[in-house]
């Protein structure tokens, strides 16, 4: 087999990169659990007809066929309700899981879910075909109080904030509210709300001038209406003065809208609560327009300060109908972190590094193969006390065993006490058959001391691999 080459769009990490990814995953999981979210996993596949309900994503779906089925007549089975596809997000599977298990879940149901998803997109612009997502959602049966729209972005901000310790830049959660946008546009006399939003969504890409032209040419706005939409999108800030500015803008255009007022009350409450619980993290930004076809209240995007060009690393919003079985409707609010993109950025930009790529803090040396059992016993004693260690693969010269540890970043090498040499016994400085004390060497400093596997421990910062900001 020739040396294989990577598959574009399917990222994999070397062991030290995986230490970084695992740290990110563990940190997210811990924060989610501290906030009371229960972990679930769903199967990787869903019936194709369920995946295709959102038409615009259909081309991204990977369809599964069993090799035998394909081979029989050259085409996969086409019976849609038997066909399976890989999920492209964790929201569709979660909605199905909620309906399937509604009778066994307690609502409001708060869950986190960290899994791979697949999209058959052309890999470009840092887009992956397989990537890990970390989602939190809360879903109610019949109703869901607004305060969850305040809580969920703060949980994500807390989770990402925990990663600042390893060098993740500061995050800024940008929030908007669909009711504000819809109320304002309708109040202006623009009823193609989705059309306006789709156009406004291009602001960062094409700029205000082109968006203004498009609003006139494609959505049928007057110049004044277009300018009002651009003025609304230009409003942002981290305190409730944002609400006043939107109100003033609306008043200047004679816009009166109950929906707008409702949205502003919600947006103001969110910014208010966030300024107490996580000062400076949440910013109201009226140009945020994402996925407004099914979001119905708050919407969120999250950027890394100083890396805004990366786009949003964590997005979501409120949806009045996550799922419905005809009798009960399940509203929800949730956000999703693109973990692979985040880890790829952390590693690619050399922002972080693992202190080592192997778990072992100690390499137990082997004096000769006949005494390997002594080394195994040392390792067992250390492991029983929670100290990760490895035993040298061969009884090479100690210098080579030390290089084995050094190459892997293992900080300590342990030397089991040796039988005394015949000379020492003859000289009376040692007793035949009585092993000398074990010793442990910090191979970074060269310091070597007597040690007992029943009591010795490495410094806490050396016990497990850690993830730290890169020096460079």
């Amino acid at each position: 087999m020739a040396r294989p080459t990577p598959l574009s769009g399917f990222p994999e990490w070397l062991p030290d990169g995986r230490v970084v990814e695992q740290h990110v995953l563990d940190t997210l999981r811990r924060t989610f659990e501290l906030h009371g979210f229960a972990g679930i996993e769903t199967r990787a596949v869903e019936p194709l007809d369920q995946l295709l309900r959102k038409g615009e994503t259909s081309k991204e779906v990977y369809v599964l066929s069993r090799l035998q089925e394909v081979a029989d007549d050259g085409a996969p089975a086409r019976d849609a309700d038997k066909q399976l596809g890989l999920h492209f997000d964790l929201t569709v599977p979660f909605a199905r899981y909620v309906l399937e298990n509604a009778g066994k879940l307690a609502f409001p149901f708060k869950r986190y879910q960290i899994q791979k998803v697949w999209r058959g997109e052309r890999p470009q612009d840092g887009r992956f075909r397989e990537f890990a997502q970390a989602d939190i959602d809360v879903v109610g049966a019949g109703g869901l109080p607004y305060h969850f729209e305040v809580e969920l972005p703060l949980v994500m901000a807390a989770a990402l904030g925990e990663l600042r310790a390893i060098g993740l830049p500061e995050v800024r959660v940008l929030v908007n509210n669909r009711r504000v946008a819809e109320g304002f546009y309708r109040g202006l006399g623009l009823d193609d709300v989705d059309g306006v939003l789709r156009t406004i969504d291009k602001l960062d890409k094409v700029g205000a001038a082109k968006v203004g032209e498009a609003l006139v040419a494609e959505v049928g706005a007057s110049d004044a209406q277009a300018q009002a939409c651009l003025d609304l999108a230009a409003i942002n800030g981290s305190d409730t003065s944002v609400v006043d500015r939107v109100r003033a803008l609306a008043a200047s255009h004679g816009v009166e809208s109950e929906l707008l007022e409702q949205g502003l009350a919600e947006l103001g409450a969110l910014v208010d609560a966030a300024s107490v619980r996580a000062p400076g993290v949440v910013v109201a930004d009226l140009k945020i327009a994402r996925g407004l076809d099914y979001y119905t209240g708050s919407v969120y995007e999250t950027v890394l300060v100083g890396h805004e060009q990366l786009g949003s690393i964590c997005s979501g919003g409120r949806y009045d109908t996550l799922a419905s079985d005809g009798r009960t409707t399940y509203p929800g609010v949730g956000l999703s972190i693109g973990v692979s993109r985040l880890v790829s950025r952390l590693l690619g930009a050399d922002l972080v590094r693992a202190t080592r790529g192997v778990p072992a803090a100690v390499l137990v040396a082997v004096t000769d193969e006949a005494t390997r059992a002594d080394s195994d016993a040392v390792a067992a004693a250390l492991r029983a006390r929670g100290i990760p260690c490895d035993v040298a693969p061969s009884a090479a010269k100690f210098g080579k065993q030390i290089r084995y540890a050094d190459r892997r970043g293992i900080p300590f090498v342990w030397f089991p006490g040796q039988e005394p040499g015949a000379d020492d016994v003859a000289a009376g400085t040692a007793v035949a058959g009585e092993r000398g004390p074990d010793q442990v060497k910090d191979i970074r400093s060269g310091e070597q001391v007597d040690a007992d596997a029943a009591t010795w421990a490495p410094p806490a910062e050396d016990l497990w691999p850690r993830v730290v900001p890169s020096a460079g």
Copy 2:
């Protein structure tokens, strides 16, 4: 959307089942890491031609096609080197990963890998189409010392042994050595070694009489040769007397074989070392024949004592050629645990249960929506000290909030101190605006005490959900 039904062969757990699965995964991971295995993940897909190298598994492979490609002409792209399939084990991807990254890995390379795999088999007999595997392997560049064939099954035995605390039955690792079998058969004059092994492999299913007949009818053995094979397969034991019994059997048939002697030396060393490091866990069992088409030394199966009919829950062996790039050959030894089958058994047979299905140890009650910020502040203080908690979703009557906690198994409910009533202020027993002390209630005992979120902690056994043996 009507209520969806489960997909056969694609297991999912409710939140409390996921607590059990997560505990199993965390326990395995910790044991693997204590033994120095580095964690990696590989992508879910491999090129189809790589997956089909082992012909007998071809029908199990799920092939991917992008929906668009299928829709164009009704057939997926057939260009084999562009086609991708889902991996059906973690060995094929690991071999590819080793070759792809050989220049960046340090050998011997010890890795663990815990991921889902997919097989398009008919779901039956507890077989899943999607399931999690937990693999450990060590791979060398050019060579790999025998002692790893002793170490790896003991690591798996240690990992599974950790699960006895939650109610997993005792495990027994059954070991054999391909050299023993091959040396013995060839020494008898039976050169169709694979044929004999395939037939012997059916012993548990069809019994000795039918296997004996098949050896004569299908592999061309004489009655005496067939009986000798059956006699070999009947030998088992946990000490080195096994080696003596095999030698005696060989001698009685005039078998002389260097390969047999080499295999017996290895098997004896394994049983010997295991009896010191994990007494009673490893049993030599000469009928173990698994996958001997590519295993070349030790082979392993693992059964749960008292649940032998489940079959092997953890299997593997030594392979002289895990991978090869033409210049370097990479021998390895590894084992794989079928985690989903194990968890399914633990849950299905009601052997274990989670103490609760949500992470929260505390529900912080909400007195009224106007003081929700007080409850949020309590929750933040508890979380900052590592105590998982949830805040009540609505300011319902306290009785209802307590039932909310009770239904989820949350053991403690926290009541933020309240503003005094006007009567108390008038009576001089309280000061207006001065909140009374917070209180926390253990809803199991009913005990309620004053508490400070800056210092109070639940008993350690209540802090996180635990997995315990089921009472029943």
